[in-house]
Symmetry: C3
Subunit: 163 residues, 3 copies
């Protein structure tokens, strides 16, 4: 029923600051909003990079410690190579190109789309304090900096996904 | 009540391609099915390796960046050693042996057991596209490649666990 | 309503053994208990380090493979530097200081607070067996070592968060 669907809530916690792990939360929030499901994202720990104005356009990904990230020819990248200077930039630009080809927007644009569709973005107070971030440092669509207890109230009745 | 238990649903998202992080999702899905709980697994990002025919028998784990992974004598492995050639293979074979001793099957066999017990396996469309994977590249028990919106419909009313 | 709030349950799975990823689960469990929400934590895989008596006071974090972990001046730490001997200890002591400044207690003390407030701590049987841990090796507030099926019963009706 339409009204029941309207009651459904999705609450996503983004805790990683890498480019690859930025996407799962954004994709799910966006898909939820397109289905009329209420969606909010709570950014905590390294996930704060996703909404930090100076960092959100420069998220990186690294093949280091991730045996799944392969060269274009499918060959894995051994750690002793993955740690070489330049490899993080190489992997990052590869992923950006793939995302672009598939028409997935970069983080700032994607989060703007989510906010425009009614998704709510919150920063975690504890980790914002740890990183000395105030609202001025954050993406303008962020609703506010909230504590864990406030977050739990927002998440009442929601399906919670921790990325 | 029996009927209520039948209504319970577990929906697991596997996003990692390492051998160690392949297990939590499989163990939970299998336990759920044994209790009569509906279970499905959605493989996304690096988790697609778990159901990619050419890769699923060769998942690796690495002590790099994971201070918890220790030598058999309990001593940690510093990163400058963990990155040496051969260390990933060494850690992988150690973990395989431990799993075998405890009678936990390797991924292909475990996923077959889960499918045989009625668990549903789905691949994420966005990341399958990114990795240029079609259904022909995937483990035969995979139901299909689905988008995020379809996934959210499958996950309606479920407890969702993102690994 | 008060009675409904009392029915709310939070079930957290801690699967990581790093100092940074130890906190999200503890913060959420603690906040839940303060709001009268039932909370339990299930420690599995590397997360067992958080409740292993010999290890829980020595959790580490590493900037390796985590481009978000920056120097005090905000500059990122490239992987070829992050893997140098001493860098893990340096990053760990930096994070400990930040946590202390914000009055977040170290893991043992935080878990004690959670247990005192009625939070339940469980160890995962499969991974405890893998690491040859018995109840004697674990933090004294741990209720017991339970299997995945028992865990699913505990998690019935709960919001589940996998860290």
């Amino acid at each position: 029923m339409f009204e029941e669907q309207n009651d459904r809530k999705l609450c996503i916690i983004c805790s990683k600051g890498t480019l690859d792990m930025a996407y799962p939360g954004m994709v799910l929030a966006n898909a939820a909003l397109m289905e009329g499901i209420d969606a909010s994202i709570f950014f905590t720990f390294w996930g704060l990079d996703m909404i930090t104005d100076k960092k959100m356009d420069h998220l990186k990904c690294t093949p280091l410690g991730n045996p799944s990230m392969a060269m274009p020819n499918g060959m894995g990248i051994p750690n002793f190579m993955a740690m070489l200077p330049g490899m993080t930039d190489f992997a990052t630009s590869m992923m950006k190109k793939e995302m672009e080809k598939l028409d997935f927007p970069p983080p700032r644009e994607y989060l703007q789309t989510i906010a425009d569709a009614g998704g709510k973005l919150y920063a975690c107070k504890m980790t914002a304090d740890m990183m000395k971030l105030t609202e001025d440092d954050l993406f303008e669509e962020v609703e506010g900096i909230v504590g864990a207890m406030e977050f739990l109230e927002i998440a009442d009745g929601a399906q919670v996904i921790f990325v």
